[in-house]
Amino acid sequence: MDDESGPYPRAGVSEVIGFLEILDDESGKIDVYKLGKNIDHQLEQLLSVLETARIFGFVEYEAGDVFFTPKGKHFIQSSQEERKKIIATTLPEIPVFRELLSFLTHNEEHAVSTEYLDQLITRDLTAEEIQKIKNAVLHWGRFAELIWVDSDEQEIHLEEKEEEET
């Protein structure tokens, strides 16, 4: 079994949605080089966005083309509220989120220091890469309203909609 917790999302919410919007404008399929042109050949951004959209199951890549999966097509045609729900059901399928959510659920405080994420990101990555992944993880988790982040305390909390903590 693979003991790595990857693959990791690296791109943020707006970037990925922006990319899916471009794809939608192109009727759901685009040459990857045309996509590159569209975003001024920002290779780094292109790769992280493609990778993230693929991890979420929104797009597939084959022989120079990027195209929607049915899930991706459905996502981009959904309202903001529905998109949040789709992300909320997608995130627990991604190892790094699954572990984070599981820890938060089982932990009595339902909270953990953001440093905990460093332990979940096990591949040999540079500090800069780890920071990028952490930012993306927190960003998507908040977007899906699964977690909230106390920036002052540098703590991640489980979002509890129904029951207030006493």
């Binding site: 040459d31 990857v32 080089y33 590159g36 042109k37 050949h41 290779l43 780094e44 292109l46 790769l47 493609l50 990778e51 693929r54 890549y61 022989a63 120079g64 040999d124 540079t126 500090a127 800069e128 890469e129």
Partner: protein, 255 residues
């Protein structure tokens, strides 16, 4: 003939007790008269490849050959243009250039002559006495070019030389460099440039070497034989763009 050859170059280092492999058995041959561009995503160890090729950093494994001979240390026939210009702020334009000439043991009178010649060549005449802070980014990089060219190297390395500049200034400098390179006015016999800008790679290169993300390997090479100046809107250009993107994205996605 191969001017420069990298054989099975591997570079690894240890950070916070973790072992990082940056480059994994890279082979690279640079022929005389060639402008080779290395592309790859950031963190793909492109800059490290250049530093190893110039003899500034020693590889963990593998060997660099220059004109068929193993390179024991910094290559005296090479110079580098850096992304962030690397100018000394308390020296004038001319002094910045004279400094590298002095370091190479060139006598004072000749230093001045050579410095002025290259300041002129890059279009900075009348800015000899300016300090870096008085210059725009584009002008700073012109000094960077003048300094690298003034030592009259055989091989020029350029590490993202246009990445710190705005789009228009970058396009201008790129064109000027290509004019100089193709004019035969320079001492340089080969150029190795690193960039993450794909369009720039096709605009400039005779050959593109594509690196994967870290630990980087060579995932493919593309010959670019389009006549210069190149038109980014031409069909041939688009077809190379298509091919290059497919190489990069496929290697990234399959990881």
């Amino acid at each position: 003939m191969a001017l420069l050859e990298l054989k099975e170059i591997t570079k690894a280092y240890i950070e916070k007790g973790k072992y990082f492999s940056v480059i994994d058995e890279i082979d690279l041959v640079v022929k005389e008269g060639e402008l080779v561009v290395i592309v790859g995503p950031s963190g793909s160890g492109k800059s490290t490849v250049v530093r190893i090729a110039a003899g500034l950093v020693s590889p963990t494994k593998g060997q660099v050959f220059y004109k068929g001979q193993p390179l024991p240390g910094p290559n005296p026939n090479a110079s580098i243009v850096f992304q962030n210009f690397a100018l000394i702020p308390w020296l004038t334009v001319q002094e910045n250039i004279e400094l590298v000439l002095e370091a190479r043991g060139i006598p004072p009178r000749q230093r001045i002559r050579t410095a002025l010649k290259y300041i002129d060549l890059v279009g900075l005449d009348s800015f000899e006495d300016a300090y870096p802070r008085e210059l725009s980014g584009g002008m700073k990089q012109r000094v960077g070019f003048a300094r690298a060219l003034a030592v009259e190297p055989e091989i020029l390395f350029m590490d993202e030389p246009f990445s710190s500049l705005d789009v228009l200034t970058a396009a201008d400098l790129r064109e000027e460099f290509l004019k100089l390179w193709t004019s035969g006015k320079l001492s340089i016999r080969s150029v190795v440039m690193v960039t993450h800008n794909i369009e720039e790679a096709i605009l400039m290169s005779d050959r593109i070497v594509v690196l994967s993300a870290r630990p980087s390997k060579v995932v493919g090479e593309i010959e670019v034989s389009l006549p210069r100046p190149r038109d980014t809107h031409s069909k041939e250009f688009e077809s190379i763009l298509d091919h290059l993107y497919a190489l990069i994205v496929s290697s990234h996605i399959s990881k």
